[in-house]
Amino acid sequence: MSKLKSREEYEKTGSFRFWRWLDGRRDPYVGQVEMKPQTPVETPELTIRERLRDSQAVRDKVYDIENNKSLNFFHRVYVLAAIVYCVGLAVILLAMVAYLPPTGEADRPVNNEVSARYIESGLQETGAVNIVTGMILDYRAFDTFGESNVLFAATTTVLILLHRKKKNQDGRVEELENDRLLEPKRDAILQGSATVLVPIIILFGIYVILNGHLSPGGGFSGGAVIGAGLILYLSAFGFERAEKLFTEKLYKTVSFAALTTYCLAKSYSFFTGANHLESHIPLGTPGAILSSGLIFVLNICVGMVVACTMYTFYVMFRKGDF
């Protein structure tokens, strides 16, 4: 008996719990998960009926063939014209493809001196091992700046549409009650895997951003990965805990700081470039993490903006408040 564990000790080990769980003697969910079925928002039956009647009435009116003869005629003409247009477009485009230069061959107009220089001297001129990153963040950086502003403009419009003002104290409590409708609450599996996965996902995102000039990836992809990590955290642990981490103020600060840095850095580089001044930004050793001059900084800025934007989109779609 000396080598064997006592019964109490054995019960504390993982293997005992595992076997017990396998036998089905104890359900790990009991006491861990809120088993209460989620009650949907209760709408009074009267309202539902009214709504159904309304929508039926609307449908009758819209699809009333007898009374909407002229409208119906126009609608048919419109659909017919649209179909003819689409078919015509398809035929024209396919015919055009037949005349385009053949795919996969090196001898095409696109493979000219422009791409040749990007490949042959991209490493020396931009310091980026990843030629695509070097191209979008240095040779053609103005496009990419415009692109971050597209994201910024889209976030602004989404905020206009879906952002609701914080309600007073009573309304707030009610909202928290309703929160469980939006995502599972205290789900052991989700929380357990999120505990493991969220740090890994965020770390991986940071890795992708920091290595944007060396390997596939960069600010946009890395930022999207980080955003996904944040969204997973929110889904697993609920809004209250996510709110401690990520507030509207943080979103504003981060996106402002990142976009301003981007704007100033690129302005400096455009200005010196156009006026034929030396930019004094060291390119570093190609292949090292701290290399390729501004590209490294810009990737980080873009990554922060994208991560914040993705998370903000999710929060706004979810219920319209940070």
Binding site: R51, S55, V58, R59, K61, V62, V79, A82, I83, Y85, C86, L89, A90, L93, L94, V97, A98, Y99, L100, P101, P102, T103, G104, E105, A106, V110, N111, V114, S115, A116, Y118, I119, E120, S121, G122, V129, N130, I131, V132, M135, I136, R140, T144, E147, V150, L151, A153, A154, T157, V158, L161, L162, P216, G218, F220, P286, V306, F313, M316, F317
Partner: protein, 123 residues
């Protein structure tokens, strides 16, 4: 027929483009319209990716210090696709949030029904 069969990738991209275009134009359901929009955009990125491809060459990331044109595909279309994807993400987000707002208010996704309801409201 010219290069139609050699360019089968582009041909597929064009067919997808028209499918997406028709969805965006003809469907009444807003969500289906948004799906159509995404098909259309993806078709263009597929087309661009075909443009960059050169048979037998690698991804444009400098490996082992080789910097000759013969080693890599054309990097420009890849960069354009990257930029384009971000634009289409933004536009989809905007369209979806518009849809959410309309649905919350009118409880339908059909644009014609929404127009009729609006006329009834008579703003």
């Amino acid at each position: 027929m010219g290069n139609l069969f050699a360019n089968y990738g582009e041909a597929v991209a064009m067919i997808l483009f028209v499918i997406g275009f028709a969805n965006l134009l003809l469907h009444k359901n807003l969500i289906k319209k948004i799906i159509g929009l995404n098909i259309m955009d993806s078709a263009i990125y597929l087309f661009l990716a075909q443009k960059g491809y050169i048979a037998g060459r690698g991804v444009p990331i400098v490996t082992d210090g080789v910097q000759s044109v013969e080693a890599y595909i054309n990097p420009i279309p890849s960069g354009l696709v990257l930029t384009g994807i971000v634009v289409s993400v933004s536009v989809s987000a905007l369209m979806l949030s518009l849809t959410i707002r309309l649905y919350r208010r009118y409880h339908t996704l059909d644009l014609d029904e929404i127009s009729t309801l609006l006329k009834k409201e008579g703003v």
